[in-house]
Amino acid sequence: MPESKRPLLSPNQYTLFFIICLSFICALILSLLASALKEPQQNAMELDRNKQLLIAAKILSPYGYFLVEDEGETFKPAKFSDQGYLVPSEDKIIPSGTEIMQVFRRRVSPFLVNAKGEETTFQKAGINEQAYIADYKKSGYYTQREKLIYKIFGNVPEGKTPAVQGYAIPLNGMGLWDAIYGYIAFKPDGNTVIGTSWYDQKETPGLGANIAEPLWQSQFLGKQLFQESADGKTDFKSAPLGIVVIKGRVSEVLGNSPKSHNSVDGMAGATLTGNGVTNAFRDCLAPYRPFLIKIHRSYKTGEGK
């Protein structure tokens, strides 16, 4: 019979018991927390990505409030009203995450194009949308046979059919330090840019990270994707495609020449990040060229009516 003074477990056994209990309790707490927070986390990620697309499309301002188009390519603050229709507002109201998602679902619709410029939907192509978006985020949707692109609809009240206001293409690139991800939004003519945003970048703060700053991004409005030739006309089949980040300011270096229409100011001290952005445009837009030509043609014939 053990003496009453002998402890229940030897020191080593106690240590083992203690560690096992500790590990079990820690793992339990963390697992519970992780599963409880999983959905908010995924929503937060999706919201962030979608916000950036809306910023590129000038539906959301980089400062957080909604925008509607005003006369002459300016934008003014707007607010959320029933079902996602935006009305102009005096104050800059910051919408909630659910409101942003509602507006996104109402006005943005993802679809796929292939190398010939033919459109299809995820359903028809038999591709799972969530899996596709998650799997090819890093390697780039433009590398796939079916390439991701978004249709942006206009702001109309409930019940009316909206017209296509523009398109947005996701961009992948390599900055100075790490990969950069963003969007470019352009008008239905397949050429004029509405805006751009960079939602995932690890560039040098204050230098390369300026690509995520509203001030630098604001110069993209009205630029063209295709480079004009010297005579002012654009040959969509062969012109270089993509916005170029030049060294120095466009107003000083290029003035008002045709090349200035698809160039933006470089950032002092961030040439390599700027080059990364230029390369991202060039490489990501090239596979969409047939589609851009197609929509440009139909835009032209639509205009001619």
Partner: protein, 255 residues
């Protein structure tokens, strides 16, 4: 998994990047505490440095395996060979805990082995090992390597390079501190104050290395767009990649 899209030139670039351009101590600021608070001599700095090189390289590799087979996205898919479908289970939230446990555990085992194998070595090096377990640089390098998704060999090179860079920076700072100790410094700044300012100047010097880009796999040539449209009848989609693009992917599996 082993080399991904990296070629040998990229590995050289990776060494340069982790030792100089992204020097762990002077650019990412990890690993200062243990050093600043306790050593002013070059000898101690070297001891610390060697210990860190060893611990970081081995832990870096162990943690890569951990990330690849346990905590990374889709990591548990190997369980399928015993019939369990665990691909969608995401244990990522346990990563911090497991990483630090591996580091602390390995440091402990290493200490025991050194004490058993060579008491002389233990005398000179063994004192630093507990300090190193909590060195920000070790956990930091493991976490950075994991966020960048390197394949095995580049990961090994990256952690080794980071440790070497850390050692280099520590040795440089210690050497300067030895001289500073006998210099005539403003009383308020003596000791820690001047050490920080000096580290700042060194950090500026290391900034001069920015922009050397050998470490990343080559970007593809621009996809040529010819006049002919793609073939009329395409094979069924087994591989979803666009066949008109070159096969080296821009952002390889490693990034």
């Amino acid at each position: 998994m082993w080399m991904g899209d990296f070629n040998h030139f990229n590995l050289l670039g990776l060494v340069l990047q982790s030792v100089f351009i992204e020097n762990f101590l002077l650019v990412n600021f990890l690993g200062m505490c243990t050093y600043l608070a306790c050593s002013t001599k070059l000898k101690t700095a070297n001891g610390l440095g060697i210990a860190v090189v060893f611990v970081l390289t081995v832990s870096g590799v162990l943690n890569w395996l951990l990330h690849r087979f346990v905590t990374g996205p889709g990591a548990l898919s190997w369980l399928s060979f015993i019939g369990v479908d665990a691909e969608r289970i995401d244990l990522g939230f346990l990563e911090f805990l497991l990483f630090i446990s591996v580091i602390a555990g390995f440091t402990q085992i290493l200490e025991i082995i050194i004490e058993w194998a060579s008491p002389a070595l233990y005398m000179s090096l063994g004192l630093y090992l507990p300090l190193i377990a909590v060195n920000c640089a070790i956990l930091g390098a493991c976490l950075f390597a994991v966020t960048r998704d390197y394949p095995f060999i580049p990961n090994l090179i990256y952690v080794l390079g980071s440790a070497l860079g850390w050692w280099l920076a520590i040795a440089l700072i210690a050497a300067i501190r030895e001289k500073l100790a006998i210099s005539n410094i403003v009383p308020g700044l003596r000791g820690m104050g001047i050490t920080f300012i000096m580290s700042g100047l060194m950090s500026m010097a290391f900034m001069g290395f920015t922009g050397i880009k050998l470490a990343n796999p080559a970007p593809p040539q621009v996809a040529t767009w010819g006049e002919e449209p793609a073939a009329e009848n395409e094979e069924p989609i087994l591989d979803s990649r666009d066949p008109s693009l070159p096969t080296i992917s821009f952002l390889s599996l490693s990034h």
